[in-house]
């Protein structure tokens, strides 16, 4: 098992590639209410395959809620979330990594094995997929270690390895580096970049402007549950259209 071998043949030992695409993702007039409050208001947009999408906004803007609505963890109270690709089961082509990685009380390898089992990957193929995912995230030496004994950065890398092993077409990331130090943040961003390079569509929430500049191709900017901008990253950072986005980038937006 070696990193270089795995990198030379990036898809050789991952789960079967999705046979059909699920993108584009189209949200139409999506709203979400809870506790009598409207937390997401009438949001519409379409995300196509290719560019890395970063959802930005101040605290309480509804970024994480929007991510969950897209991934199907929440159901909109109005509007529709539609995967327009031909795949019959879009959920099977998605994965999500949370701000606080949720790891099961079993070994590092067993955490990935469980995800593969749920995706119906044959038992005989799981070992090589796990080995590859761990090798490529630098966790190979921890394969038999209890997952919850890993450091915060390693746990997040494992969450990414687990997602990677299922070979998602779309990967949702909810502030995956919010509680990590700079070195771990760099490592996690590298993995995200590699996944993108291999064809996984990244949809990430962050309010770290530096990280967004490094990783975004397009930006969705939210404020108080409203979609204020959906623009190319360059445009967003150089000439934001809305006053709220401009204020946010200057660190002057009240929330």
């Amino acid at each position: 098992m070696g990193v270089s071998t795995a990198q030379a043949r990036p898809h050789a030992n991952t789960a079967p590639a999705p046979s059909a695409a699920i993108l584009p993702l189209a949200l139409s007039a999506v709203s979400y209410e809870a506790g009598g409050q409207r937390l997401i208001s009438d949001i519409s947009f379409t995300l196509k395959a290719g560019p890395r999408t970063v959802i930005m906004g101040p605290n309480g803007a509804g970024k994480s809620l929007l991510l969950r609505l897209c991934h199907g963890l929440l159901t909109p109270t109005a509007g529709t979330v539609r995967w327009q690709g031909p795949a019959a089961h879009p959920a099977r082509h998605q994965a999500m990594v949370f701000q606080r990685p949720v790891l099961m009380r079993r070994t590092v390898a067993a955490n990935i094995a469980y995800a593969l089992k749920l995706r119906s990957v044959p038992r005989a193929r799981r070992a090589r997929i796990i080995e590859n995912a761990l090798s490529r995230t630098g966790l190979a030496r921890f394969a038999d270690k209890p997952a919850r004994l890993l450091s915060g950065g390693e746990q997040q890398k494992l969450a990414l390895a687990r997602a990677w092993a299922t070979r998602p077409e779309v990967l949702f990331l909810d502030e995956p580096t919010a509680s990590l130090d700079p070195a771990a943040t760099h490592a996690v961003e590298s993995i995200i970049q590699t996944m993108h390079d291999e064809g996984t569509h990244i949809i990430m929430v962050t309010h770290d402007i530096g990280q967004a500049k490094r990783l975004a191709d397009e930006v969705l900017f939210l404020h108080k549950g409203h979609l204020m901008e959906h623009t190319a990253a360059d445009t967003f950072f150089s000439a934001p259209e809305s006053g709220e986005a401009a204020a946010f980038l200057k660190g002057e937006l009240r929330w």
Binding site: L73, Q94, A95, V102, M104, R105, R106, R119, R148
Partner: protein, 234 residues
């Protein structure tokens, strides 16, 4: 004081002499209680997990009932099982009354609500933590049950121990459905009750000490294993 000191001496003598009757009584007690707990685990774990994860009409009423059943009076359970298994009862044809099997059934009925109710709480708490990740991976509540029970294994040990405590300590149910027949259905608790009624307090206390010691030993061993496992797995 004499009774208590006599009891210790009697208990010690019984243990040292490896009394055959005592070995049989202790063996049957463990066999009945462990079998009942095993049966209750098979029913109570999935039942508790299902109650934690599925929403359906009447669920809250069922949870309240289950919690209330943790305090089921053993004599009432014994009486109901007696009526079911007696020759005129619906299950009389099986001829189980006054057998260890009847005692296992009665104790399992007593223990199942304890294990199910505690499991429900443990799994519900774990589901709060795991829910989004598991649904993201594609595991709905039904698929998640085995994984949740596995991941809650160290906490669930406490539920199983509580069930074992209840089973090994009760006397009313096994007395009614077992009949306390010498060499057939006589267990430690029924023997203690019998010896007290005969006035042999020293023997009764001696058996009590053995019963408590056994329970303590099982709990201590389980606790030690649990602590080591928890430290290793967080």
């Amino acid at each position: 004081m004499t009774d208590i000191s006599d009891a210790f001496v009697t208990a010690l003598q019984l243990l040292i002499s490896f009394d055959r009757d005592l070995v049989q009584i202790v063996g049957l007690s463990l066999q009945v209680s462990l079998s009942a707990v095993g049966l209750a685990v098979l029913i109570g774990l999935p039942l508790g997990a299902a109650l934690a994860l599925f929403k359906f009409p009447g669920r809250d009423a069922l949870i309240v009932t289950l919690n209330a059943l943790m305090g089921l009076p053993p004599v009432v359970v014994g009486l109901v099982v007696y009526l079911m298994l007696s020759r005129a009862g619906p299950l009389g044809v099986f001829g189980l009354l006054f057998t260890p099997t009847a005692m296992i059934i009665a104790q399992a009925i007593l223990v199942t609500p304890i294990i199910a109710a505690l499991t429900r709480q443990v799994v519900a708490d774990l589901w709060v933590e795991y829910s989004e990740q598991m649904r993201s991976l594609g595991a709905g509540p039904l698929k998640a049950i085995p994984a949740l029970l596995f991941d809650a294994r160290f906490t669930l040990v406490t539920a199983v121990l509580a069930g074992f405590g209840r089973a090994s300590a009760e006397v009313g149910a096994v007395m009614i459905v077992g009949g306390n027949i010498d060499h057939v259905t006589r267990v430690m608790t029924t023997t203690i009750a019998l010896e007290v009624s005969k006035g042999d307090l020293a023997l009764a206390l001696g058996l009590g000490i053995i019963l408590i010691s056994l329970s303590l030993a099982i709990n201590a061993a389980t606790h030690a294993v649990k602590l080591r496992a928890e430290a290793a797995w967080v």
